[in-house]
């Protein structure tokens, strides 16, 4: 179970880096072409529907990244393998960026669709709180000077946040049924046309490639950071 990070692994990641960057750019270009030119406008929402192609992938990856983050923190506590800590720390900031992007694009999309920039419903509120969980994770690590301690504590915090998210989702849902009796017509379950599915799929793939690329760059960064912490404290 104990996976040690060897030098040739890092060399491999290093050599894969340009290809990954190229693939990401390529996927984004294709995705942009499909989402802006090739797909038809939605018959209700018109062209504002196109924001979905960047909003939905970033929301997915915001959630997925936090799941990976919390999962690797749990695995770190179980196996004591430092690799999981490095993974958690390298993925956190990418997740934060995706969360912020999904919030921004979501509210820009909300203006033409709902008529308002922001709706206090469960999904948006828990996304906002997710953003603050990322911030807490990242900045707590920076605030504690003993870095080994910092990793442990911020990992514990990430797991608590993971428990908190469903609780918040549930309570905001409950709150909505009490305080806002369907004042805003939400998007009904979208029956997405195939012509919309293709750009969405390509954009998702592109965002995934971006996630992998930047996470691997940050992986190397975090490894070097760890080594520097070690040598300077000797």
């Amino acid at each position: 179970m104990y996976i040690k990070i060897k030098n040739n692994h890092i060399e491999f990641i290093k050599s894969a880096n340009p290809y990954l960057i190229f693939a990401t750019i390529f996927a984004f270009v294709i995705g942009l072409y499909y989402s802006l030119f090739q797909s038809p406008p939605d018959y209700i929402q018109g062209d504002s529907m196109r924001i979905m192609y960047i909003h939905v992938p970033s929301a997915w990856f915001a959630l997925m990244t936090y799941s990976i983050l919390a999962g690797s923190c749990v695995l770190w506590f179980i196996t004591r393998n430092p690799l999981f800590n490095v993974v958690a720390r390298s993925i956190a900031q990418v997740g934060m960026v995706f969360t912020l992007m999904s919030l921004i694009t979501g509210s820009i999309w909300g203006k033409p669709t709902w008529g308002v920039w922001w709706v206090w419903d469960a999904r948006l509120t828990s996304m906002l709180i997710l953003f603050f969980l990322y911030i807490a994770y990242i900045f707590l690590w920076q605030a504690i000077s003993n870095k080994e301690l910092a990793s442990k504590i911020s990992a514990a915090l990430a797991i608590i946040g993971f428990i908190n998210i469903p609780v918040i989702k549930f309570s905001v849902d409950w709150w909505n049924t009490l305080h806002q009796p369907a004042s805003i017509s939400k998007l009904s379950a979208p029956s997405i046309d195939v012509s919309m599915l293709i750009p969405l799929f390509i954009m998702t793939a592109a965002c995934f490639l971006f996630l992998v690329t930047v996470s691997l760059i940050r992986f190397r960064l975090v490894l070097i950071e760890n080594k520097m912490l070690r040598t300077s404290s000797l």
Partner: protein
């Protein structure tokens, strides 16, 4: 365990300024409602139910450093941990004293304040019950955040960022009159999590 409670109570008695500060802070936040929103009776009633929770959350946040940090920084936590080999007793007595010193005064002053905001007896009792149960849950959360962030000094803003998302469920349910069973469930959940996490934080601190 009883020694620690006695000592913490005496300490808060000696530095009784702290105690008056939190109560004054609580009252002053609520006092801002009429200034900010006007003095219409119906509006004040509605706002009071919500803002009383915000005031409670803020007064707990500003006291979070006093739970473990003060004792950690001057070294008293060493003695406390040496004297209490079973960390759970230590943690539970800290819960009790923190609630007793910083939440009980707020609850005592609450009926007076709610009459100032034109609420009748029944409504006051409902708010009181909710606040009573919810304040325990918030104290549990404040305790584990305090224990976890012992290594990060003087970062009250960061602690607030960590704590406010955890307070959200309490505030959502707190402002509804009949939701005390859910608050009780939330408090119990936070107790279970808190006692593990606080013990973990204190153990890490010891190292």
């Amino acid at each position: 365990m009883s020694n620690l409670i006695k000592r913490d109570l005496l300490l808060s008695f000696y530095s009784s300024a702290n105690f008056f500060f939190t109560v004054s802070f609580f009252i002053l936040i609520l006092m801002l409602i009429p200034f900010a929103f006007g003095t219409q009776t119906e509006q004040l009633k509605v706002l009071f139910r919500g803002v009383v929770w915000i005031a409670l959350a803020l007064s707990i946040i500003i006291t979070v450093d006093r739970i473990y940090n003060d004792d950690y920084e001057d070294g008293n936590l060493d003695i406390i941990m040496q004297k209490n080999k079973t960390t759970e007793y230590l943690i539970i007595s800290k819960y009790i004293t923190h609630w007793f010193i910083y939440c009980l005064p707020l609850l005592v002053i609450l009926p007076v304040l709610s009459f100032l905001f034109y609420l009748d007896y029944l409504e006051t009792v409902q708010i009181f019950i909710n606040l009573f149960i919810g304040s325990f849950g918030m104290v549990f959360i404040a305790n584990f955040v305090s224990a976890l962030t012992l290594g990060a000094r003087r970062t009250i803003f960061l602690k607030a960022i960590i704590m406010i998302p955890l307070f959200v469920p309490f505030i959502i349910f707190g402002s509804d009159a009949g939701s005390w069973p859910i608050l009780l469930a939330l408090s119990m959940l936070s107790f279970v999590i808190s006692i593990y996490v606080t013990a973990y934080g204190l153990r890490l601190y010891g190292e």
